[in-house]
Amino acid sequence: MSLVSIAVVVLLVFGVAVELACCLGVLVMDGAYNKLHFLGPAAIVGPLAIAAAVVVQESFSQAGIKALLTAGLLIVASPVLSHATARALYIRQRDHVEPELVGHLRRGLPTSGTGPDAAPVVGADMGGPGSDLGLGGRP
């Protein structure tokens, strides 16, 4: 077994192990925010190790360059996708919490909090914690 073959096998085992560990992390962790953390190593470390294995095997031929291009594309795309997904989750959570707040603000009542159990506080000062949302509530 040549040195090149050993290097290829080591890189392949490392890349596959990283990918499978990240898959298990996505399965085990609770919540989308925690699951998102495991997209990073899976899209950066794993593809880079496997592209390195292809380059070690094939040198900078057509296959090696395309494998590096693919790994580079994954590395660039991963943070963009993670950011877009986290932003979508943030907006969904904000919009799912706020409808009750919006109702209170439109009726001109302050609220006792910002969570889903937020309730209007009758007789309190009209400047509630959600009144800065620009939704028509009293100042």
Partner: protein
């Protein structure tokens, strides 16, 4: 069967956790599972192209990586408002 094909076969088992997350999780968790599956499939295509000694097959992995990015962005944008 060489080391490349064995690695590709091992990586395919990683799709099982992704499928479980997609089937049982919330919509955003399912999107995370879909993105993980896209990364896995891209790497599997690279391994298969090298394992079968077909350099043109690397184009498939390259295109899938691009489409995974585009599809993930579209899904994320859609989930902000409509799902």
């Amino acid at each position: 069967m060489n080391a490349w094909l064995i690695a590709a076969t091992a990586l395919l088992f990683g799709l099982i956790p992704c499928a479980i997350v997609m089937l049982r999780g919330s919509p955003v968790e399912a999107l995370v599972g879909l993105q993980m599956a896209g990364v896995l499939e891209t790497v599997v295509l690279v391994l298969l192209a090298e394992g079968f000694h077909r350099p043109p097959f690397f184009d498939l992995a390259l295109v899938l990586a691009l489409l995974t990015l585009a599809g993930g962005l579209v899904f994320a944008r859609m989930m902000e408002r409509w799902v």
